[in-house]
Amino acid sequence: MEINSFIKQFEDTIADLPPDSIRPETDFKNLQQWDSLAMLSLLAKLDSEYNVTLTAEELNSCNNVMELYELVESKTQ
């Protein structure tokens, strides 16, 4: 896994997100499209793609997409 493909998956998962709108430093929780359904979509994606289960607390502890990527990566190892 590397950050660019992770970002691509993130963009595909969250509804109504314009392509190429996400950067590693994006604070995804402040995105207009980030709502409870977006969160569930992301949790489902991480479960099916990486077999990683995150709690809402863990997800909320991430300040940006890079930190989320690192958290997911640490759990896949």
Binding site: A15, K29, D35, S36, L37, M39, L40, L43, A44, D47, S48, T53, T55, A56, L59, N60
Partner: protein, 335 residues
């Protein structure tokens, strides 16, 4: 003597809450998005003065009528609800009187939500196969609309009111089970109506609104659902439960005619089905015009599957319930 599901009917109150109505309250969620993510187009809502027991009674009257059931033969009432009329007596006692079921019948309430129907089947089987009852009337009913905060879209988009009546009778043939049950009370606060009982009586404080990070507003007098945690619980527990039931029953996918899971919402059902690699054509969904009716989703779906001839006499169905408690149960049903 074996236990067999003999008849099912259900009742939905006339009032409706459509996606157009929800969109008016929450313009940030389009009508299409609500339908696409939840699978629900409309939910039924009971009038303010109509209680779960009233819905349950209507469903039982339909059962007697549609299936030509003689109510004097009912010797046990199991009423599954999370919204009883009173703390006591049990609503099942009131239902016995209003339905004119003989005073020789046993009657009790049990408090479970989305796992309740499968638990009720297990209890009915126990009563019948031990010889203590011959005709068990299992009524599932809830009116969560009364305890949903009007500004909490996380629950208002998916949950509707409704009731179902299922008659389980002693039979020479047929079979009900095996079942698997499970409980994790550590998750009690993930799905809870906190205030109004003895632990936390209603007060000015419990009525204070709180906003979550997504702008959903609720308070302790209203139901609360931690969406992410319930979601994670479902994705973890339900596949294990289904696989354990395959192992316990000695059955494989080819021997199951239809799967009817608790109709939580279409989104989570699709995910669970994909995770279990169950064939889509055998995975029954019935949610679009009633939403998640808590303990009644499985009997409502089962009755529609029978009416649509997806299943017929002799078919083998896996039923799976999961939710508030946290509580879960799965079983094999022959009809």
């Amino acid at each position: 003597m074996r236990a067999l599901i003999k008849a099912i009917s259900y009742y939905l109150p006339a009032g409706e809450l459509t996606n157009e109505d929800i969109n008016r309250d929450f313009p940030e969620w389009s009508i299409e998005k609500i339908a696409d993510k939840t699978g629900v187009f409309s939910r039924h809502i009971a009038d303010a003065n109509v209680c779960s027991s009233d819905l349950g009674i209507e469903s039982a009257k339909k059962l007697f009528e549609e299936h030509n059931i003689n109510k004097s033969e009912i010797d046990f009432i199991l009423f599954c609800t999370q919204s009883p009329d009173y703390f006591f007596p049990a609503s099942a006692c009131i239902i016995q009187d209003k339905l004119g079921i003989p005073t020789t019948a046993g009657a009790l309430d049990f408090n479970l939500g989305c796992s309740g129907f499968v638990y009720g089947l297990g209890l009915a089987k126990g009563l019948i196969e031990s010889g203590e009852a011959k005709n068990v009337l299992l009524i599932t009913a809830d009116t969560f609309s009364k305890v949903m905060h009007p500004k909490d879209k996380s629950v208002r988009t998916i949950i509707g009111d409704g009731a179902a009546s299922t008659l389980i009778s002693a039979s020479e043939t047929g079979s009900l089970g095996p079942f698997i049950f499970g409980t994790d009370g550590k998750g009690a606060e993930k799905l809870i109506l906190k205030a109004g009982g003895f632990r936390l009586p209603k007060s000015d404080e419990t009525g204070v609104d709180k906003v979550d990070e997504f702008g959903n507003i609720t308070n302790e007098n209203s139901m609360y659902m931690n969406g992410a945690e319930v979601f994670n619980f479902t994705l973890k527990t339900v596949p294990e439960l289904v696989n354990n039931l395959f192992a316990k029953s000695g059955l494989s996918d080819e021997q199951i005619d239809l799967y009817i899971f608790h109709q939580a919402n279409k989104y989570i059902l699709d995910l669970v089905r994909k995770k279990l690699k169950l064939p889509e054509e055998k995975f029954y969904i019935f949610i679009s015009n009633c939403g998640n009716t808590v303990s009644s989703t499985i009997p409502i779906a089962l009755w529609n599957a029978i009416k649509e001839r997806k299943v017929k006499a002799g078919s083998r169905i896996m039923v799976v319930g999961f939710g508030v408690g946290l509580s879960w149960a799965a079983g094999i049903v022959n009809i």
